[in-house]
Amino acid sequence: MISSDMLIVFVSLFIVFIGLGFYGKYWRRGDLNHVHEWSLAGRKLGTTLVFFLIGADLYTAYSFVAIPSGVFAKGSLYFFAIPYVMLTFAVALVAMPRLWTLAKEKGYITASDFVKDRFGSRTLAIMIAVTGIVAELPYIALQIVGMQAVLTVMLAGYANAQLVQEISLLVAFVILAAFTYTSGLRGATLTAIFKDILVWITVIAIIVIVPITIGGFGNAFKAASSSYVTLPEDLVPAYATLILGSALALYLYPHAISGVLSAQSAQKLRTSTALLPLYGIGLAVLALMGVLVYAVPGAMNFLSGFPASSRGILVVPSLILYSLPSWFSGVALLGVFVGGLVPAAIMAMAQANLLTRNIIKEIKPNLSDKSEIRITKAASTVFKFVALGFVFSVPATYAISLQLLGGILIAQILPAVFCGLYVKSLRKVPLIIGLFVGIISGILMVEFTNSFGQLTSSLLKTAFGPIYIAVIALGINLVISFGGSLIQKKMDSKKETAQ
């Protein structure tokens, strides 16, 4: 049962959040009837704002829910999230400023715009857009699962909790849809800063208060089993490939690319990317909560009232509830709640851009700018409610599993997007075949690993130990893309000599 002061804090902060979202329309005013103004905030964001916006992409329900949940259930393996974010910024430092420069020069809004121009292939561009939209859906669903977890913990013990929870989520989403419709990426950026302040306060409070109340980290590790202290030897290949695969995939997600393209200059983008690993410290604290919770009897007792499969996602909200003063829990829980809401908005906007620019416009090329922005805004609303409907209809644990599949899919656009930035010799046909085979083999390996049942693992057992499927599928894809381009080049030069 929650106290009234906590509820008052939670609701008042949510009202501030809504206010900021709508105010975004007037902030750094631009003509929001232009696509780049609405979806890239006019490409005017400086170092600090890009830091917060991309930070919002990173600090999603994935870090609040999926990672602590994994650490809680499986132990050290899920700490891979920390080296993964470090590596992803190395990838971003090399690839993204170049994409930014080309996008600014040629007016690209999406990765698919770049691919179409670079390879002159509509098929490849549409395939990349569809992959982006599909991979993003479970990511949005995961954000909603995180928000659901907050509400579940807040409403535990009340009658009609399920109904109240679904209505609250629906209300939150209507508000979110309304302000992204009017303010675009500006609204998302302002709310992202607000969200980050709440999250950082929470992270600092937890890392100070919890170890003191439980008598040091050591006690938490004693309460948990040995696979929590270090990584079991047989999981080293899994750990390394999860780092590699996830790091290569993050900046291929459409929402990450929108964040990058909203920067004011390539150098500002570089500086903010270089600083982003600092953000990971908060992520590390959140991940550690999966272990710390073992030493907090109140939270463990509360969690034992839920089925084992859904305990993990409740770790962070229940640790907040049982270790912080009640009014402060209101601050922290709202932080986690909007921590799902803000990224969901950014992701749905990125999907909408892909649908309008790279799919609808391909079919109807004479679409006016005005219709383009109208369809984009409407589509971003639709995508949010599709994800919400998805969460209401499938169990939460299943939503997290689908996120694993999303990562495997999005990694397959790497040869066309990242390699396409630097490698001149790549050709469109091998890229199309590589992308297709990468996706099909990825899905088959996931299904095989999970014996064609519910998805719980994304690691394939091999002779070298368990390997993250995204890396294997990407390997196959890269061999086809590069090998095929080489063969095509040789055939072309033979033709020339024959003539």
């Binding site: 050290s76 190395a90 400023p97 170890p211 990317t273 690993p277 990971g280 410290i281 590390a284 550690l288």
Partner: protein, 69 residues
């Protein structure tokens, strides 16, 4: 001049490669001692490495900026 730009290129590559090799070299940090405030080495090292990485990346970013002067 070409020697200078070659050195610059090597330094840029190292600033990206060193942190990445450590991150992917799991056996380097997969141990429990020495502990720090009760945290096993595995956990505190990776958290500390976030700060070190920021240093490497800022170096890369600054060196890239110089080219445009």
């Amino acid at each position: 001049m070409s020697m200078h730009s070659k050195t610059r290129y090597i330094i840029l590559a190292l600033l990206i490669l060193i942190p990445s090799i450590v991150n992917l070299g799991v056996p380097i940090y997969n141990r429990d001692s020495p502990e720090l405030f009760g945290l096993p080495f595995f956990y505190w090292f990776q958290t500390f490495w976030l700060v070190a990485c920021t240093g490497f990346y800022l170096g890369y970013s600054k060196l890239m900026e110089k080219k445009h002067d």
